[in-house]
Symmetry: C2
Subunit: 333 residues, 2 copies
């Protein structure tokens, strides 16, 4: 199973993506990865790889890069030889099963729509992030692919999210919450009310009504659906809080002796806690609704996170997740 990895995307490119590919291939013997990017930059990282791994890693040349500040649609259209575009083309041509990138999120979404293409019947794709909470891992979508949504988009996110969660976790009938500004029926706006009605009358979705901000860290439902603006606000706020907690602990440790000893004893627990907020490093975010597997890794991903994103992609591919979504939406748009 070959996956195309955009090694030029992300803050730590190309080093960490290259290392991540080696790590993932070592962990999964059925995995093959095409490293897409500047050949000279990639080659040094491959020298350390064992032959059994090296034989499953190839280099696909691409001499342009889409930067974090580039306009998403414009750059995916014009930079025809960019690593991201070339990786996406490999998915479109079925040369690769899927593509992984830690690069410009907007360009990944634009490439998903413009190069790989949407699944028939899907109005807009949704980027999903697994969020660890007290009781379970909740899949939150959309976190930025579709900034403002129609009711139809929220409804489709719920159906796609349910298929994804069922495939990956084995939960037969994952529960779905619709994000709103309160749990009472009168909350939300016109779009959210309309989506609520669509979901309540959809037998294929185990819909549990509205959830609000405080329900997310508790883990009330397996899936939470919201528009991309809200989802983006939430995951970035959570990441910011994780950073704040780290700084506060550090300051506390530096200031006095007792908390210092306390923090040392608690360190594994505190680390575990802080790691919960690094949502995207906990796996990788699938772009659901496109005709191929696209997984976004966090911009500051290290090798471990890149390998995690590759495993997410291959796991969904093994379960033929894209086909399941296609069948669900083609049988009845």
């Amino acid at each position: 199973m070959l996956f195309a990895l955009d090694v030029m995307g992300g803050d730590k490119a190309p080093a960490e993506p290259c290392k991540g590919a080696i790590l993932a291939c070592r962990e999964d013997e059925e995995l093959s990865v095409a490293l897409v990017g500047a050949e000279d930059a990639i080659r040094p990282y491959l020298e350390s790889a064992a032959d059994s791994v090296r034989s499953r890693i190839s280099i696909v040349k691409a001499n342009e890069v889409i930067g974090m500040g580039d306009n998403p649609s414009a750059s995916i259209r014009s930079k025809k030889n960019s690593s991201l575009r070339v990786a996406m083309e490999m998915v479109r041509s079925r040369e690769a099963v899927g593509c992984i990138s830690a690069g410009n999120t907007g360009a990944i979404v634009a490439g998903g729509v413009l190069i790989v293409g949407r699944i028939k019947g899907i109005d807009r794709p949704g980027l999903a992030v697994p969020i660890p909470s007290l009781k379970k891992t909740t899949l939150l979508l959309d976190v930025g692919a579709t900034v403002r949504c129609k009711a139809l988009n929220l409804y489709q996110f719920a159906r796609m999210g349910a298929i994804y969660m069922r495939s990956l976790t084995g939960i037969e009938n994952p529960s779905v919450g619709l994000f709103s500004n309160g749990s009472e029926d009168i909350k939300g706006d016109g779009v959210i009310s309309a989506a609520r009605e669509m979901l309540a009358s959809e037998s294929a979705v185990n819909f549990e009504g509205f959830v609000e901000g405080k329900d997310l860290p508790i883990g009330l439902t397996d899936i939470v659906v919201c528009d991309g603006f809200t989802g983006n606000a939430l995951i970035k706020f959570g990441e910011g809080i994780g950073e704040m907690v780290k700084v506060m602990i550090r300051e506390e440790i530096e200031s006095r002796l007792l908390p210092k000893i306390g923090a040392m004893l608690m360190m594994p627990a505190l680390r575990k806690m802080a790691a919960r907020f690094e949502y995207e490093t906990n796996g990788g975010s699938p772009l659901l609704g496109v005709d191929g597997i696209i997984v976004k890794a966090h911009g500051n991903s290290r090798d471990r996170a890149i390998a995690g994103a590759l495993h997410v992609a291959s796991g969904f591919a093994r379960l033929k997740g894209t086909d399941v979504i296609k069948e669900s939406f083609e049988s009845r748009a």
Copy 2:
């Protein structure tokens, strides 16, 4: 200076509001409070108060209650003898300088608009919450008064928030960030772009452009402006994370010895950290844009939080905050 306190609002009514009023009057000799609610329920709590405090506390009878599940506008209109409505009427008649309630947020906003009335030139009010962050306290508004906003609303929130922050903190020219899904100019939607343009060309506002979720816990700007849906999502999510952190620490303490000792030594620091997420207990949320002082306390406020909300209200009253907002908007709509 007399303030009307809705003692029937909130999860711990009427005990904690009554105790909070006594506490606040003890701390501030210029403060007088009218406890609005069921006389029989209030009287027992006043017995313990010293004469110097008791003399500044009065009871105003109101025999109806607006519950947390009641429809906001409908209940504020129909329940004419509810504690919240009576307290609001006291502000309208200028009998009281302001009103404080830990009750139904929607009803507080509806009462602010329908009973107290908006300031001339203000399109919609904004509910503001001070959020402690690493560098400073950031005022976030709106957190639920105006679920979906026009650009004009966001622009007016920025101007009102700046006046409020200037009054309360003495910061001469508080910085304002407009919440978006990224810091680049192309982010946001049509409403946010239009608000950005309005703010960029407004000399009375020290506008610093877009801020995103991760900037909030850092404290990039003194004020952050967003629509009520987003603000509500953020503060509730933060509160939920605070709860999650508490549960995780408890589980860690119960499970093994070393973290247990560590947690005990760190407890003051951990408590301080968890308290940061209890946004509304850190003061009280002013409803800006109405013609009188209205401060919302958190639904689960204890006496300390109610007293805090009373101090916020009296502090803003001393600085004639409502008049300053009125002058600013009446001179040029």
